[in-house]
């Protein structure tokens, strides 16, 4: 196999696939005997060659056809990008109820864009904090359906963002995988909506006292510490 040279003048190497030659390195563009490649002697052609090689290397073009994608046959699923869009729409809807003016919108839209691209990050929590602050500074009495809607929509937005954040934007998400978190979401919503209703009633009666809120916090902590763990299976805590 002494004369077995591929047509580009490279000797075959013995790597995987056999008959495979390694790519020519830039310094290999020297003719035999160390003489500079005549095509690269002048400055302008050399510059043109480098420019075209860079452009072809970094720009998507006809030289790099779009590769097909592996297909995973799953149960009915939706694209992750759709879920991200739903998350952004929910966030936008919440912003419509809370955001008072352009400065707030600039922040919220920035956060929504960030949430679309990185839904599994802290951006979702930051968006909820911003909306909560805007809500806190909004002393005007809002529509009666605003609080229940916000109580329902913001956790839903965060829940869907958390699910979307577990995959890339090109992934598909089985509808079955959405069922369990949504069941939990509904169970928590029952409690949260009751809490919101109770809070509204108490506020309407003028019972909004710091002591009452502290008691509610203690009750909430009790639920978190004692009741919620009992929902899960028996488990060892030795790890």
């Amino acid at each position: 196999m002494t004369d077995k040279l591929p047509p580009d003048g490279l000797r075959e190497s013995g790597s995987a696939g056999g008959g495979v030659a390694r790519r020519r390195r830039p310094k290999d563009r020297m003719a035999k005997g160390g003489v500079r490649d005549p095509a690269l002697r002048t400055g302008l052609p050399r510059l043109w060659a480098q420019l075209t090689s860079w452009l072809l290397a970094y720009l998507p073009g006809r030289h790099r056809p779009r590769l097909p994608r592996v297909h995973i046959h799953t149960a009915p699923a939706i694209p992750s990008v759709v879920l991200r869009a739903i998350v952004a729409l929910i966030g936008f809807g919440c912003g419509l109820m809370v955001v008072p003016g352009p400065p707030g919108w600039a922040i919220v839209i920035g956060l929504l864009v960030a949430l679309f691209w990185v839904p599994g990050s802290l951006v979702g929590g930051a968006l909820v904090i911003v909306l909560g602050l805007l809500l806190a500074f909004d002393v005007e009495p809002g529509a009666p359906w605003r609080t229940p809607l916000l109580v329902a929509a913001l956790p839903l937005m965060l829940q869907l963002a958390a699910i979307a954040g577990q995959t890339s934007i090109t992934a598909r998400i089985e509808l079955r995988a959405l069922a369990l978190p949504l069941r939990r979401y509904l169970a928590i919503q029952v409690f949260a909506q009751l809490l919101a209703l109770t809070g509204a009633m108490v506020a309407g009666l003028g019972w909004v006292l710091p002591q009452l809120m502290a008691l509610a916090s203690v009750a909430l902590l009790s639920i978190v510490i004692f009741w919620i763990p009992s929902l899960g299976p028996a488990r060892s805590r030795d790890y």
Binding site: M1, G132, E174
Partner: protein, 468 residues
Amino acid sequence: MTEMVRTGGWQLAPAAIGWLAAGVVLLALGLVTRRPDIVAIGVPLLLGVAWSTSSRSQRTPSAQLRGEDQPTGLSDEIKVEVALEPAELPTALTLRVRAPGHRPAEALVAAESRTLTATMRTVRTGRRELFGLAHRAVGPDALLSTAAVTDAPATMTILPSARSLTELPLPYRLQGLTGPHASRRAGSGGDLHDVALFTPGDRLRRVDWRVTARLNTAPAVLGNPKGAGPRNAGAGTAPSAGGSAEAGAPRPTRTISRLYVRRTFATADATVMLVIDSRDQVGPRVATWGDATQLREDESTSLDVARHAAVSLARQYLAVGDRVGLEDLGKLRRPAPPAGGRRQLQLLTQQLALAEPEGEPTHRQRIPRLPSGALIVLFSTFLDDDATAMAHAWRRAGHRVLAVDTMPRLLISGIPERLWIAYRIVAMERVDRITRLAAVGVETLAWMDPERDPGLELGLLARLRGRR
């Protein structure tokens, strides 16, 4: 199935930190501002985090690839199974399946005891690492997850497909006394060879009573009154017996002194040795000849063409009852001896699929010894002189040699000028080698010639009847 790992791998996702921070801030904000609506927004977030962390599954779900050898189908679709193993609590799995020449696919699926299917498209054959899987367990509400686990890639063998062929060339010398082909020797067969005197060893059912009666009753007509019979008439064959019933002839005697038998041409089978040159593998794009990693999955390489051609020939030869063997020039080991039957076809198909370049092409010092009288079909790209020299040697030894050019249809438009010149040099050398082969009596055939169908070419070669 790998054993599931214990809990300990569960980690809080960054989103969970966001939930926790937002819940605490909103709760504090609601308390400070005496706004129960803000508290009601923050409470579900804290409840969600608490529920998620308190009900973790002790085991994590897992996934594993299960790939099996499979032939190339009409759709060029290759499948692999992804077996899911659930945890004791409902969880989810993020799957990422990759394949060469494809963009990876990702899916979030419910971790239930079931099997999913992943597919890719390829026209290439052989044994390769086709699918890779990375998976990550996700908690029930996506606030917990584990680290990604990357499994070893699934190595699968894609068996070459075969095309239908009708007539195939036979070796110059057939072997054996049975088989599907008629040989030149007399023996047990179907076609009439001659009528000869009965000799010890002939079967009685071969006696031709009509010829025996005719020749034993016409000694005078034949001009042989001494009764020497047709044995002395020449070469032990029966002469013509016409004119025995002429008017006025003496009445023949009724004594039968000699028996005549009908001899037939013997049948025989052909021995075919397929010789595949797996030392190199080039694709249709000349620009990729220097880098096999640039080969695309929708482009057949020279080795894929060789596998396809060899399996097509082997299937047809074995279907008619011939014996087929295989020699791989890329491997220094004994060839697969010629044999017949469906089992041999499976063996050859498997061996052809496993034929692949192994490192630097080696020069063979000795010409492989192949069964005498066999038809040798050499599948090569003829990019070097080794395969040509072997074909020369086999032809000199008296074999009928058929050289099949397995170079795929080349895509040479748009290549740089220097590459074009280099390609032209290699192409001219290749043509010279093939021309030299034809000059010494080696029959040549281009399998991927767009202007000629290889089936028709083989049919024409089959009609060039040599000595059998």
